[in-house]
Subunit: 215 residues, 4 copies
């Protein structure tokens, strides 16, 4: 259905045309991390990026979430994989390595934990399906290795090797994702990623086991 008559839109020069796409993705990632995918309208993202809402459509159509997954989330998870390097032998070393890899990535990409927990791990997350098939390898490998260790009697029989992986994610991603509310609850500004890492290492090493030397 044809429209009316003369308008004059044209172009408001934005800093650098080549960066605009990345700029929009940044805004989207930020919005998704702050409020969740479902609560983030293209409009709000455009406003945050300082552009016209139609531009978001122009660049991404209805594929903005997919683009965020492909171009932001997965590359960052690849960093985690890379950070694992040659996986160490002992379960504790393996877990510690995982903690270091994840915490390092979180430090570089502070938006990651909230996005990962809400949109990937928790049931109903928007990125579930898109991500699922792409990063099964790492957790499966870690779980398998831990299973071997357990069968060899090297970790407690009560542990579930698969849930060890989950616990590792809990000690890092989940802790980082929920850090703001704990900071507020404990009135503690010092709950940064280094604290998280340190705590995770200690937790992996002993759990809550008593450190008192038995008589």
């Amino acid at each position: 259905m044809p429209a009316s008559r003369p308008r004059r839109p044209g172009r408001r020069p934005v800093q650098d045309a080549t960066d605009l796409r990345a700029h929009l993705l940044d805004a989207a990632v930020q919005a998704y991390a702050n409020a969740g995918v479902a609560a983030s309208t293209n409009r709000a993202i455009a406003r945050a990026a300082g552009v016209n809402p139609a531009l978001v459509n122009y660049y991404f159509g209805d594929r903005l979430p997919d683009a965020v997954v492909e171009e932001r989330l997965l590359p960052v998870m690849a960093e985690v994989m890379a950070g694992m390097g040659e996986p160490p032998e002992t379960p504790l070393a393996l877990g510690s390595r995982f903690v270091d890899a994840v915490c390092g990535v979180i430090e570089r990409h502070p938006w990651l934990p909230a996005l990962w927990i809400r949109e990937v791990l928790v049931d109903g997350g928007a990125f579930r399906d898109a991500v699922f098939s792409r990063i099964g390898a790492l957790p499966r490998a870690v779980a398998a290795r831990l299973g071997d260790a357990q069968r060899a009697g090297r970790i407690d029989a009560g542990l579930d090797p698969r849930l060890v992986v989950v616990s590792l994610v809990g000690l890092t991603m989940f802790t980082a994702a929920s850090a703001p509310i704990w900071r507020r609850l404990f009135d503690a500004d010092d709950l940064d990623i280094d604290t998280v890492r340190r705590h995770a290492h200690a937790f992996l090493a002993h759990g809550l086991a008593s450190t008192e030397t038995p008589p």
Copy 2:
């Protein structure tokens, strides 16, 4: 009356007028847990409950999330508090008690973990502010007690007493909330709440420490 539009799918008879409010809250809780608060419209909740959208407005206006917090979430968290009973002495026993209390509640209210993680703990959750001021006591008490234990040298110095609380939530709530995706990833139907509890106990007891007896 619009005849050609899709009618709603045959109203489920709601037993009793007094139950209607509870029925709506049930539907809301379910929807919030499944898809998140932001993605759950009152309309969809009404449809799921088999009632007119106007009715949701009539009962709750725009305060449905608040009502869910007050009448569903907080009572359930009170169960957790009750489940803690008289807190035990040793850190390990304290943690284990927490695990049991939370897992028991999860068993009775399977919608809890997803809701709690997404809408309370993760940054940007819809229930954050409403819940924050009502729930501080327990974690603060546990953290304080663990702090004492640490100062007494009874748990590892590398642990952060506050993050121990977070880790406990991670071992229970977060694990349960993300269980579906792990079930899918590990192709494991057996990852139920009992597995979670058992694993958590073992993890608290030893972490990933080696169980090999030194020669």
Copy 3:
């Protein structure tokens, strides 16, 4: 995605609630006949009907064209069928009966011709598929009967029985649909449906054959 805050829409009482659906269909039929389906926005139809654009969606969703076909177009075509009654024997009488039936319906439903020509008969029309399967019987029956007559040597061998049907539609529907421009072209206010009927009868009877009596 939730909205802002307090509005106050409610209801502007429209003449009679039961009539509203019919009122909207009337407006839609009129708009479709005037400007074509593709050029008729729900907005424009709502404006013409004096209601909110959202109401059109409330009643019809994206099925407004279908509703117009089912509830306006097809019933009217049923009138044509009824008007055919027991089909007469001779081709000329059959054609004349068709002309009368169609002209009678056009007289009662002046919007019909434009709609029928543009949206049903001309290639690319919006109602093509919806209508096609529903009214094949009449033209096929008429064509068959004319074919019989032709094989019996009762109409000219040069005629195409199928195109006779088309010609009948041309003499009635098409003529009525294009009447406005001919009225303007010939500056003739008298080109009404009666003129069309009379002319069609005469044309069927003799074509453009000379009426001069051969010596």
Copy 4:
């Protein structure tokens, strides 16, 4: 440059800059004939032509329909005029000549009938006003001549000379424009322009008059 959006399907090389305008007009004519003017966006036309949407604007602005009328429709109608030659004397010969002229043009420009019927003749057509003042001569002349013949008693008194013109258009343009649906309805691939012409001649000669020789 938006990479994740669907790119247009590989630009067809346009032989020569001077041809581009004609190429665009071709695409426009085709789209207008296929779907109607109102349903044909400049964007879709550009896509079909394999060029950038801005180019259509560059060449035609919002005057593309006007250009189609001026540069395609009117020249083709001029061919019809030319095809009429020196108009014959008798009404039947005049009508037959018109049929031949129009059918010849249709054969060379298959897009013509749909466009002419929908956008010129049927009420609300997009080309109405643009064409109206440019095409009056021929029909008026034919009608006048037929009026003379009628006053001289050489055609049936029941005919309307003006509507004879309309009937001629109906026997040719309208029949051709609606041919696809009749082909489908009668499952007849043989309904081509020659069939139309032959039928029209026969219809002009006798109408549906009986060919049986009275005893």
